[in-house]
């Protein structure tokens, strides 16, 4: 699949994970690679981009006892963007699906 295209969708997936709860980078990477076939390292550039766009913030937490972990958290702007992008993506995906199915029918 086109990397640029995939990246946009992955951003949406990362935000959806972060909407549920704050996570550290590795958690997000594991969560994503369970469902989608991507290189494990791809998540970090996405997180960084989301951060520089102001959609997520980071904070350190010492709760786990070990060295402080960097947690990512969705900002208000991030949540807003997520909801809008999700709607857009779902309607787009639906359109694509109908289009492709129609083409299948025409062939028969």
């Amino acid at each position: 699949m086109n990397t640029q295209y995939k990246k946009g969708v992955l951003e949406l997936c990362v935000m959806s994970i972060l909407k549920r709860r704050d996570c550290y980078g590795y958690e997000i990477s594991e969560n994503l690679s369970k469902h989608i076939d991507i290189a494990d390292g791809t998540v970090y550039p996405i997180l960084r981009k989301l951060k520089s766009d102001g959609l997520v913030t980071t904070y350190l937490s010492e709760d786990s006892g070990g060295p402080p972990r960097k947690y990512y958290s969705l900002t208000a702007l991030g949540l807003e963007t997520y909801e809008a992008d999700k709607k857009e993506y779902l309607s787009f995906a639906k359109t694509v699906e109908t289009l492709l199915e129609d083409e299948d029918h025409d062939k028969k």
Binding site: K7, Y24, G25, Y26, S29, S33, A39, D40, G41, T42, Y44, P45, I46, L47, R48, K49, S52, T58, Y59, L60, S61, E62, P68, R69, K70, Y71
Partner: protein, 239 residues
């Protein structure tokens, strides 16, 4: 590829792509290795699953907002230097105060013990009947305990205050550089309920003993001297 090879290659590729804050990015990948290693994967497996370092580095877009942060950081650091000087002066006063309290504690304890033992080096302690000396000794020893408790708490308090300030200092500078911050620390020392209870018990009982024995000491002194201003009778301030 081993972990260090991967990280080195990634670092070089990031530099090639003009990406700032490479340490921040590298530490994220380092943590990834640490987590995966804990799950029993070998460094080679982890590196292979992470992907090609060159490919990954190209996905990091140069951070254009870094410049804005840079300007802010310089101003913040200058501000923090002044804040540190100001806070440092306070901490110095706090330390001196703690030292004074420590000296007062030791002095009270030493005089109390001397009175108790009837030991009067060079006649430094004003003369009085032994019964009065005994009561004043109890009073002074109670005061020494009270003062020691206060001194100890003050030291703990100052330590916590310094820790809290240090965290604040680190967070302000990290925040101005757009990096992640740690939660702030409380200003007051967090003592366990047991320690608090014990502390309160010691302070209250020593305060009571101190006050009661001081008053009793005065009353007995006036009775024994036959004068409300017993110190004149015993010639305390006569040369």
């Amino acid at each position: 590829m081993t972990k260090s090879e991967f990280l080195l290659q990634l670092k070089n590729e990031l530099k090639k792509n003009n990406i700032s804050d490479t340490d921040d990015i590298l530490s994220e990948y380092e943590q990834h290795f640490a987590f995966k290693c804990a799950d029993g994967f070998s460094e080679e497996e982890i590196a292979a699953k992470l992907g090609d370092p060159a490919e990954l580095a190209s996905q990091f877009t140069p951070n254009t907002s870094q410049k804005k942060y840079y300007g802010r950081k310089t101003v913040t650091v200058i501000g923090m230097v002044f804040a540190d000087l100001f806070a440092g002066a306070f901490f110095l006063i706090f330390f001196i105060f703690a030292a004074v309290m420590g000296v007062v504690t030791i002095a009270a304890a030493v005089i109390g013990i001397c009175l108790l033992a009837g030991y009067n080096f060079n006649n430094l302690i004003p003369g009085m009947p032994y019964l009065c000396a005994l009561i004043y000794a109890v009073s002074l020893l109670a005061f020494a305990i009270l003062s020691a408790a206060a001194c100890l708490y003050f030291i703990v308090f100052t330590r916590q205050l310094m820790r809290s300030y240090k965290r604040f200092h680190i967070n302000v500078i990290a925040g101005s550089a757009g990096k992640a911050t740690l939660p702030s620390l409380p200003v007051y020392p967090l003592l366990s309920a047991r320690v608090k209870r014990r502390m309160r018990m010691i302070v209250l009982s020593s305060l009571t003993v101190f006050a009661v024995s001081l008053v009793v000491g005065y009353i007995i002194s006036t009775i024994m001297a036959g004068n409300l201003e017993f110190w004149h009778v015993w010639g305390w301030f006569a040369k």
